[in-house]
């Protein structure tokens, strides 16, 4: 085999490997993208049917109820315009609170209830679900966030 042929084979193999890898990656990428919708978009039926998605907003004050098994919870996510009832079975993350931002992943049930498979909390010290930030920003202007020790926000 001449060196030139060898180089061709090498380049060919490289290209094939690259093509396979990119196909694999892009395919997996496509099928694992999770889109985000606001409660308003859910109310306007803009959400995909039969595919999981995320909703975000604020947990409505006083909306959290717990069933007798201690695990199944119901709460309402709101963007202060529309409300979406959510059902989740499992243990809620520490950062979950009424009146705070939340992001839930799951599917929309037939009765319009969002069946969450996951309620998200990330381990960032400045945790604020980015998707819920807009809703929260509005909420902040409505009721000032107060804490006696909160002096300044460095960010």
């Amino acid at each position: 085999m001449k060196p030139r042929h060898k180089r061709f084979i090498l380049i060919g193999l490289g290209l094939i490997a690259l093509a396979v890898a990119s196909m694999l990656v892009l395919n997996a990428f496509q099928s694992n993208l999770v889109f985000f919708f606001t409660p308003t978009q859910v109310a306007n039926a803009e959400v995909p049917k039969g595919r999981g998605f995320r909703i975000g907003g604020m947990v409505e004050n006083g909306s959290l109820t717990r069933e007798g098994d201690g695990l199944t919870v119901h709460f309402v996510v709101t963007d202060l315009a529309k409300r979406v009832p959510v059902t989740f079975k499992g243990i809620l993350p520490d950062l979950f609170k009424e009146g705070k931002g939340v992001v839930a992943q799951g599917q929309l049930g037939a009765d319009g209830t969002f069946l969450a498979s996951e309620v998200l909390a990330k381990h960032d010290e400045n945790y604020m679900p980015p998707e819920a930030a807009d809703a929260l920003a509005k909420a902040k202007t409505a009721g000032a966030q107060s804490s006696s020790t909160l002096v300044v926000n460095p960010r």
Binding site: V25, F29, G70, A133, S147, V152
Partner: protein, 663 residues
């Protein structure tokens, strides 16, 4: 007064860094020995100044000086001293100071352990590190000054985030940064080589130990972050493919590719341009990781909008470092040359494949991490890329890489015969296949992924055994022990690190395949059984910590009627930020972890509770530690120590000596 001294020290450090980043590089270009000799004292002086600044900030924290904005924002008078000190790197500004401090430590290390380098090389390396330091110091002094005053002073601080009040978090960031910043040495070596236009095997031998040490730190740092997530977040996961984690994992992938590529450059003079590119890549990703995590961009890309100067500075800095070094690379790399040729089937070929696969994996992580940020920044909608994406991409990309990991060390440089390799490895292959197929059945249930995982782990170990046996057969010396001792440490380091990968794979496979998880409501006195262990809930008690109040549950664990342990998970409420934290109770073991965390209180003293039985989960971090130990062992090889002593690089002799050594 003290904070002003710190601030002033930083300004002086910037001045020194400017000198260090300009005169020595210019001196190296014009051949002025006087200018080049500035590098060493400048690096040491800068270290002292940054150390002073660091101590000043530490003092402000220790003395609870809430007239310093950063101290007021990240600590509190109730916070115990060790966490107040750790709060130095608890947020953006202090992390940057830690970054610069660690950079100056590496600079001092280079200034001490570089006596064997040609003077121009050393001057350029320290010069490039000085330039990096200029960037960071400027960033701190202009838009994120940790010494900024708060007038009037706060009555009390806002407290450190409870998630970070943990021993793991005290050491994790310094470890990680030692790794991140350590790659700046490899980067500076690469840039210095491009500037000087000389890149030979000696260059690779000089940069290898530095790169490996940085890689070891990074490995430990990433593993500690993962371990912290496991026990601190209270839901038993050890890796979430979260952007924060990916930010530390990407430089690790690039660094892993780099240490393998440098091996080829060192031993065969090949992959020169590629090694340089990887060094640039590893450091660029370290920079990206630092900024991704600490700038707030992940929390919300619009965080930049609230402080546009900071975001702009970061983007410009990244563009200058990455763009500048790539331009330099494109301009000078042709002079560096590609190195010797080799056949496709050879050790070089396999290491090349390993590199390509690692970089492909890196690319896929980068895509999954940055794509949502781009879309969000351009207001094209909000998306997230789920963990299944990373899982689906990683397994097929890493499987061939690990398969090659077994063969690579047995293959010859330059050209190797495939049939001969197959003959040498047939037993290893047969043993791996049979064990991997049979073992899951004895463990309970068989799934393809469990078998694949075990196959890869056993393959690494058996091929390493075959390799060792062959080497021993060819080694000089009468006794087995003598022949074992005659093997170079770099070889043992490689074997150890590869076995660490095997342990890691066993851990991941067993946890994924056999873990049992149960969320349930438990009344006082109630029992639940998972994985053969019975947990009895004895209720909770209130108690008061230094800056929190907690409910502590008591769980008696028994197995077949024998008491095993008593576990005390906690639910804490940190009073200052009014934040609730789950402190899981973990009973670690060689072959399993038991994991209990409290959910929420229900009526009549009952709680919702999460119970886990996690087989072999500690092997995940054990494997990482062993990888790092392997790296340390490799660095302690005498060929590097010889290189330290040798004033001038004696390439032919060193190559000859290295002929028998591996990796």
């Amino acid at each position: 007064m003290i904070p002003e001294i710190g601030h002033f020290a930083l300004i002086l450090a910037l001045c020194v860094a400017v000198v260090q980043g300009s005169l020595p590089i210019y001196g190296a270009a014009v051949g002025s020995s006087t200018l080049m000799s500035v590098a060493k004292p400048a690096a040491r002086g800068q270290f002292l100044l940054v150390l002073l600044a660091f101590c000043c900030l530490g003092y402000a924290f220790a003395a609870k000086d809430f007239s310093v904005l950063y101290v007021a924002a990240t600590s509190n008078s109730q916070l115990p001293l060790h966490y107040r000190i750790a709060a130095i790197w608890g947020a953006h500004e202090g992390s940057l100071l830690l970054w610069v401090f660690i950079l100056s430590i590496w600079m001092v290390a280079v200034s001490f352990f570089s006596t064997h380098l040609p003077e121009a090389m050393r001057a350029r390396i320290l010069g490039v590190m000085g330039l990096v330091s200029v960037g960071f110091l400027l960033f701190m002094l202009t838009v994120s000054n940790p010494f900024e005053r708060l007038i009037p002073a706060a009555f009390d601080g806002r407290d450190l985030n409870p998630l970070l009040q943990d021993p793991g978090m005290v050491i994790h960031p310094p470890m990680l940064y030692m790794g991140y910043v350590g790659f700046s040495v490899a980067f500076s070596f690469a840039i210095a080589a491009l500037l000087g236009g000389t890149l030979d095997a000696a260059w690779a031998r000089w940069s290898r130990p530095w790169t490996t040490v940085a890689w070891c730190f990074l490995t430990v740092g990433v593993a500690m972050g993962s371990g912290w997530a496991y026990y601190e977040l209270g839901w038993g996961g050890w890796w979430f493919w979260d952007p924060v984690e990916n930010a530390s994992f990407m430089p690790w992938l690039a660094g892993t590719a780099l240490i393998h590529s440098l091996a080829v450059t060192d031993k065969r003079g090949g992959f020169k341009a590629w090694s340089v590119l990887l060094a640039i890549l590893a450091f660029s990703l370290s920079l990206l990781g630092t900024f991704l995590v600490r700038s707030g961009v992940l929390t919300s890309v619009h965080a930049f909008a609230t402080d546009p100067k900071r975001g702009l500075f970061i983007l410009v800095f990244l563009a200058v470092v990455i763009g500048g070094s790539l331009v330099l690379y494109a301009w000078r790399a042709p002079r560096v040359g590609l190195g010797g040729g080799f056949s496709i089937i050879s050790r070089e070929g396999m290491l090349l494949a390993n590199n390509v696969l690692l970089v492909a994996a890196l690319g896929s992580v980068l895509l999954g991490t940055l794509y949502p940020l781009f879309l969000d920044a351009l207001d094209l909608g909000k998306i997230s890329v789920g963990p299944p994406y990373f899982d689906t991409v990683f397994v097929p990309l890493m499987t061939p890489a690990i398969f090659l990991m077994g063969i690579g060390p047995l293959a010859q440089w330059k050209k190797t015969s495939l049939p001969e390799l197959a003959t040498r490895l047939r037993w290893a292959f047969a043993v791996s296949i049979v064990t991997a197929l049979a073992l899951p059945f004895t463990l309970g249930h068989w799934t393809p992924l469990v078998s694949l995982g075990l196959l890869l782990a056993i393959w690494i170990v058996t091929t390493a055994a075959v390799d060792l046996r062959e080497r021993l057969a060819h080694a000089d010396g009468s006794s087995l022990l003598g022949r074992l001792a005659a093997m170079p440490r770099s070889y043992w380091g490689m074997v150890l690190a590869h076995c660490g990968v095997a342990l890691f794979i066993v851990g991941v496979t067993m946890v994924k395949g056999f873990e049992v998880e149960q969320d349930l409501r438990m009344n006082v006195g109630q029992t639940a059984t998972i994985g053969g262990y019975t947990f009895q809930f004895d209720g909770t008690q209130q108690y008061k910590g230094p800056n929190y109040i907690a409910a502590r549950g008591t769980f008696r664990v028994s197995q077949d009627g024998r008491d095993v342990t008593v576990m005390y998970p906690e639910k804490r409420r940190y009073t200052v930020q009014n934040q609730t934290m789950t402190e899981a109770a973990i009973s670690p073991g060689f072959a399993r972890d038991l994991y209990v965390s409290l959910g929420e209180p229900l009526d009549d003293g009952a709680w919702s509770v999460r119970l886990y039985h996690k087989p072999f989960v500690d092997w995940i971090w054990g494997g990482c530690l062993i990888m790092a130990l392997g790296g340390i062992l490799a660095v302690s090889d005498r060929r590097y120590r010889l290189a330290w002593r040798r004033k001038e690089a004696d390439v032919p002799a060193a190559t000859q000596m290295a002929r028998q050594t591996v990796s």
